[in-house]
Symmetry: C2
């Protein structure tokens, strides 16, 4: 297997995927569905953040409309997270990648079809816990965010740059751990992340204490308006 | 790109890699070098654990011999970790994968050559922070361990089974966080991990407080003896 041939195959796969993603994204926009891809390491707090965010969006929407929301829960295996979301009364579909390290369009389309025509205002994709591979694959969403939890350490921005470069927002999670992690240098993280991605929104939250969750919900709401405008 | 063709290419790549790994492993054994692959999510504590482990191995070895130790530090980019290891006075080589999500043999060979013939008793490979892809690629080491940090959550065993299935030991790190994470179910983790991997050694440590580090060093020392026997 020579390296050039491998690279060429990868380029083909990514090009096919991007084309499918554009078609899917346009179809969701036409239906008024805003889709957001949520990425981050295993244990960054993706499921807990989504549960908190959905609560906030329900509340915020109450004056105008009650938004319809759903979650596609991707995992290598298991239905642990999909069940957690269902238990919270939110529509969810389990997407098992069968040990593949990222989500690609064929999987998204299959998972979406499993909702059997249900319409959503917000549809979230919880991607595989992986700070590397998902950055490369367009999942047909309108917006992409990454989570970085305080216990992981701020230096991840130097070590895993591609993910920071492709997302619309960096959400620093578990900020209630900051007191236990005095080395976590938030200003340095912010600066290094914005070198990679000058338009990056940086939000700091704790789903456990609720800190920053209102700001996150407002930002997501604004992203929906921008995407569907 | 049909799926079968992609699978076939992947199988070819993995077979070539395994063959190279076997040759490399035998050559290191002949030189009396024990190599250990250290895997885990970003922020699981791989570098900190290695620094603590190296200190312990230095101490333990003092009565018989002072072991020669080195570290290959793999990252997508940056030399943050390689510098940390060097500052601790340990020989280290930086292996930048240029955004590839795992380490494969060509990279290991190049990194090893950069030591310019220096001989080691223990050589550690700090793999890319990724709980998924590195599990698939043999890196020519005699022993593989994975770290799972308490803040990540014990349910990762259900969601990322391949890594748990291929390693010789699961090292639960940052156990000083257990009091902040009353939901972390260590018995359930142990049980589920041993279903995937009946011979798995499970060690619980905190590199910060030193808890469990003596047991880890003893286990690593025994693994070296087994591998070089």
């Amino acid at each position: 297997m020579d390296e050039l041939r491998t690279l060429e195959i990868k380029r083909e796969i990514l090009a096919d995927n991007s084309h499918e993603a554009d078609v899917f994204r346009a179809a969701r926009r036409a239906e008024g569905t805003f889709m957001m891809d949520v990425m981050g390491s295993p244990g960054a707090g993706k499921t807990t953040l989504l549960l908190g965010l959905i609560e906030k969006l329900k509340g915020e929407g109450a004056t105008e409309f009650t938004p319809e929301m759903g979650v596609i829960e991707a995992d290598l295996e298991s239905d642990v997270d999909a069940l957690k979301i269902k238990e919270a009364g939110v529509a969810s579909v389990e997407l098992n990648t069968k040990n593949v390290c990222h989500v690609e369009m064929g999987m998204v389309e299959k998972a979406f079809a499993a909702f059997e025509g249900k319409r959503f205002d917000y549809l979230f994709l919880e991607n595989i816990g992986n700070l590397v591979c998902p950055a490369e694959f367009d999942t047909g969403c309108h917006c992409r965010i990454m989570l970085l939890s305080v216990p992981e350490g701020y230096d991840k921005v130097y070590k895993y740059p591609p993910m920071f470069a492709v997302v619309d927002a960096l959400v620093v999670t578990k900020c209630d751990y900051l007191s236990m992690n005095p080395d976590f240098d938030l200003p340095a993280l912010r600066e290094a992340a914005r070198v990679l991605n000058p338009n990056l929104e940086v939000l700091v939250v704790s789903a456990r204490t609720g800190e920053g969750m209102d700001e996150l919900a407002s930002w997501v709401k604004a992203q929906r308006e921008l995407a569907l405008d």
